[in-house]
Symmetry: C2
Amino acid sequence: MKAISQESAVTFGDIPARLQACGIRVTAQRMQIAELLLGAPQHLSAEQITEALQGRGVEVSKATVYNTLNLFAARGLIRQLAVDDTRSWFDSNVQPHYHFHDEATGALTDVALPEVEFSRLPRIPEGMEVASLDLVIRLRPKS
Amino acid sequence: MKAISQESAVTFGDIPARLQACGIRVTAQRMQIAELLLGAPQHLSAEQITEALQGRGVEVSKATVYNTLNLFAARGLIRQLAVDDTRSWFDSNVQPHYHFHDEATGALTDVALPEVEFSRLPRIPEGMEVASLDLVIRLRPKS
DNA sequence: ATGGCTGCAAATAGTTTGCAATGAG
DNA sequence: CTCATTGCAAACTATTTGCAGCCAT
């Protein structure tokens, strides 16, 4: 638990500032959750976060994990994904991007924005505008 | 409840045959659910179906609605959508197509396949193939 | 100090399952 | 007849909420 690359050290060091910049009070649990999730682009479920933290001896409750994730999402620090019908995924990459979804394993992988280009999109209904464009490419083992 | 267009009469008349063609035994509850959902392309939640049927005096339990919807989905008669984190939507349009999602009302609208064209798609990981391509265009009132 | 956090447990929402009674073939 | 299907209630999973005590500011 002490090997810290230069990159992650810098990233992690930023976290308290990022939280405060969003008007989020810094607490031990929030730091732990933020370090886990914001250190690199990734997709985690509330359960994975709870287990990961409790596994490394951090005291945190399920309720706090959910409260914190909802707070982070409301402040734009993370994005909640609806890919799966059973659980929510929290994505630390808030830049626009798309996803691969491996149907067999449930794994989610990012697809960078420039990897997809639309040559045609539907006309948007009157008075509406696009809030976001979610693309999920579901994959299965090649037959 | 007696105005039946030629089209829907034909469509509805097909339902028992469609169920049997999928190896699904025809029962009163399954017919009711199928008529509600398969009569036209639409998106319904399990709760909407349960309420609609019970509202018109049909005896059906929540459990049977879920069992039936899961059975229909497994047999390819309908498609389950993960658009929303709270509930599942069941789509009677099993042809490939995309969706608008009105974030304010939660309403789902179909976007026909030819309305969207991709001029570039990412390289698919080794040994995998595309099972489906889910595109959700989330809409909000124009600012 | 004081109001925002936290943990716990209980409450909710959506969905699934076990089992006895019922109904389709 | 016989096994699939149904309804009910209870079980489950994911998530939210109420409340007393704790902690960042």
